[in-house]
């Protein structure tokens, strides 16, 4: 994880949704001015609570959602301004793994067809044989037998389906994988298998990955660097171990303290009483976290803190860290 070339670079990414409630129009700042670099070969984790904008970040990168403003560059090519043809090529390079392995597989297509779909769309296979071989090889890469190619999704278990989901993102080999909560639908024992698989693939193939999850534990164990999001803002960016050992932003601290651990000595206490994330319809001024933050001051209520390096060299968006 030394200095390496930047593969994906996001600058001032901004996305606002409008929603109507009770006859009023609300603006939801799903992604609020986020800048981020992903380096070749690394796994970048993004964590945060429901609705904080993690998925939106992932989706804007491959333009499943169009960003309002900002720049995204993949290998130096601007994603947001590329035309149809360039976009098609780009989608061969950046691939997604979806949260729900069942929903992301067409129940009427065989596993082989699903895995080979990207190749089929882009016409990368030389022949039927070539196609079958490469599908078989990819399936084996994710620990599935080549015979799975002829099965249907409903004949597979959850863990196997997610392996298929990953296999699909690997054929043909991409530059970047965006994995949106790829394991949160799985049981712990299966989750562990899949996480190991991802780690192995990364080592073997030098995969670059943006790993999105709400589960701090999972992110911690797979990511080289972690970005913490809150209400569309990036509040902290740090290397994995550092973040957990020494969280700087009060929100990160709250998050880490809330993770239930297998530690019979740590008991549920009445300590955490600081409310829920505010509704996304509310327009918050200043620091999005100020109403839950023990350190909040008037400054926090009025001015939005920038993400900047703090005293110990960590990027934090907090007036007090």
């Amino acid at each position: 994880m030394s200095r390496m070339e930047t593969i994906l670079s996001l600058k001032n990414l901004q996305k606002t949704f409008t929603a109507r409630r009770k006859g009023k129009t609300y603006k939801i700042h799903a992604v609020n001015d986020i800048s981020l670099d992903v380096r070749r070969g690394e796994t970048l984790g993004i964590v945060g609570e429901t609705g904080c904008g993690k998925t939106t970040v992932g989706r804007t990168i491959i333009r499943l959602t169009t960003a309002d403003s900002g720049v995204a560059e993949l290998n130096g090519n601007d994603i947001f301004t590329s035309d149809r043809q360039q976009m098609r090529k780009l989608r061969l390079k950046v691939r997604m793994v979806f949260q729900d392995p069942y929903a992301s597989l067409n129940p009427r297509r065989t596993i082989g067809d699903s895995v080979g779909e990207t190749g089929d769309i882009h016409g990368v296979f030389d022949s039927r044989r070539d196609r079958e071989e490469r599908i078989a090889r990819t399936l084996e890469q994710v620990g599935l037998d080549a015979s799975f190619a002829n099965r249907f999704p409903h004949q597979l278990s959850g863990g196997q389906r997610q392996r298929v989901g990953i296999a699909r993102a690997l054929l043909p080999t991409p530059d970047l994988i965006i994995a949106d909560e790829p394991v949160s639908a799985l049981d712990v024992s299966i989750q562990a298998q899949v996480l190991n698989l991802l780690a192995d693939l990364k080592d073997e193939m030098g995969l670059t990955m943006v790993f999105i999850s709400h589960d701090l534990g999972v992110v911690a164990q797979i990511s080289d660097r972690v970005a913490v999001m809150y209400m569309g803002n990036m509040v902290e960016l740090a290397d994995g171990p550092g973040l957990f050992a020494n969280p700087q932003h009060p929100y990160t601290q709250l998050l880490i303290a809330s993770v239930p651990l297998i530690n019979p000595n740590k008991r549920v206490s009445g300590g955490i009483e600081k409310g829920e994330p505010p509704s996304r319809f509310a327009d918050v001024s200043g620091c999005a976290f100020h109403d839950r933050c023990p350190l909040a001051t008037d400054l926090c209520r009025t001015t939005r803190p920038e993400l900047r390096k703090n005293g110990i060299g960590r990027k934090v968006a907090c007036h007090h860290a």
Binding site: Q160, A192, A220, V259, P260, P264, I272, E276
Partner: protein, 323 residues
């Protein structure tokens, strides 16, 4: 207080009958939280529905065993009969706060409905009680929120409303079936501490169902681990987590990611959990177990004990056997 003995829940009739929950026994005491953990499909929810008397007939039914509450047999007795017969109450909070509340009825009315049945009070009294309950589960502006519809509340709030409804039934035992899975971690902590607190205030026992070992470890007094419809290990929380007997329990513990542990490979349990009726002989964990031997696939394991409260069903328990 609540005693479940050798509970067997079956589905299907005749040749296609399968036991979804087999031979499950546990006890719940006042002011104590029993954690029931296990992977998806292990039969936790079915067990809790059986206890509630809410199994979906005729697909599922109790084939054997008994459920007693304060000495009264309440097996397969639906809640309204329990009320009529004056048996004690068991209430339940369900996994999905989003879908467990009637979307077209204001939450106040939904609470009042329960208050009416269990307190016999009506009108303004019942309404006041409902408000009181909402305050008790720490819903701000309880009075105003009585007229709110479920979709106007956040997930955490809805789960609190569910708890309020459960409390309105004046339960002796509260069953919480994965009440926090759909919630964010920060909110989860609040709900957990609320349950813990109410358990003491209302002098009730709690059956807390989850797949998250971390949650039980922080909340429960004792734990039962379910696998393939059976309880494979149970014991007080410290014992179980410090010296697990069953290989499944320890395997599970190793799978759980821990943010403070940094990069590491997970230890995994290979394979996947059996479907109901898939394994009928021997130990159901045998195909996935590292310590399994021939006997595991043929004979049902006997109970091994480690102290008065801690026991497991295994031929080769970890503490005694390997490592």
């Amino acid at each position: 207080m609540l005693t479940v003995r050798n509970l067997v829940v079956s589905g299907g009739k005749g040749a296609s009958r399968v036991d979804i929950v087999s031979d499950v026994s546990f006890e719940i005491e006042r002011r104590k939280v029993l954690g029931l953990v296990g992977e998806s499909g292990s039969g936790k929810s079915i067990t809790s529905l059986a206890v509630m008397g809410l199994l979906p007939h005729p697909q599922l039914w109790v084939r054997g065993g008994s459920i007693e509450l304060d000495g009264a047999d309440i097996t397969e007795e639906p809640p309204y009969l329990r009320v009529e017969r004056g048996h004690g109450g068991v209430s339940m909070i369900f996994q999905e706060p989003m879908t467990s509340l009637n979307p077209v009825v204001p939450i106040g009315d939904q609470i009042v409905e329960a208050v009416r049945v269990h307190d016999g009070s009506t009108g303004i009294t019942a309404r006041n009680r409902a408000q009181e309950l909402l305050e008790m589960v720490r819903i701000p502006d309880a009075r105003l929120q009585l007229t709110a519809y479920p979709h106007e509340l956040s997930g955490g709030m809805r789960q609190r409303v569910m708890i309020a409804i459960a409390l309105a039934c004046r339960p002796q035992v509260l069953i919480a079936d994965e009440p926090t899975t759909a919630l964010d971690v920060t909110v989860q902590m609040q709900v957990l501490s609320l349950i813990r607190e109410l358990c003491d205030t209302f002098d009730m026992g709690v059956l807390f169902i989850t797949h998250d070992l971390g949650v039980v470890s922080e909340l429960a007094d004792s734990v039962s681990v379910m696998y393939g419809g059976k309880i494979v290990e149970n014991g007080p929380v410290e014992r179980l987590f410090n010296v697990p007997l069953h290989p499944y329990t320890s395997g599970l513990m190793n799978c759980v990611p821990d943010p403070s542990a940094g990069h590491r490979r997970f230890q995994t349990i290979p394979g996947q959990a059996p479907k109901p009726g898939e394994i009928t002989k021997g130990c159901r964990f045998a195909p996935r177990c590292r310590h399994a031997q021939a006997v595991c696939t043929t004979d049902t394991p006997a109970k091994v004990v480690d102290g008065p409260l801690h026991s497991a069903q295994c031929h080769f328990p970890i503490a005694r056997g390997a490592s």
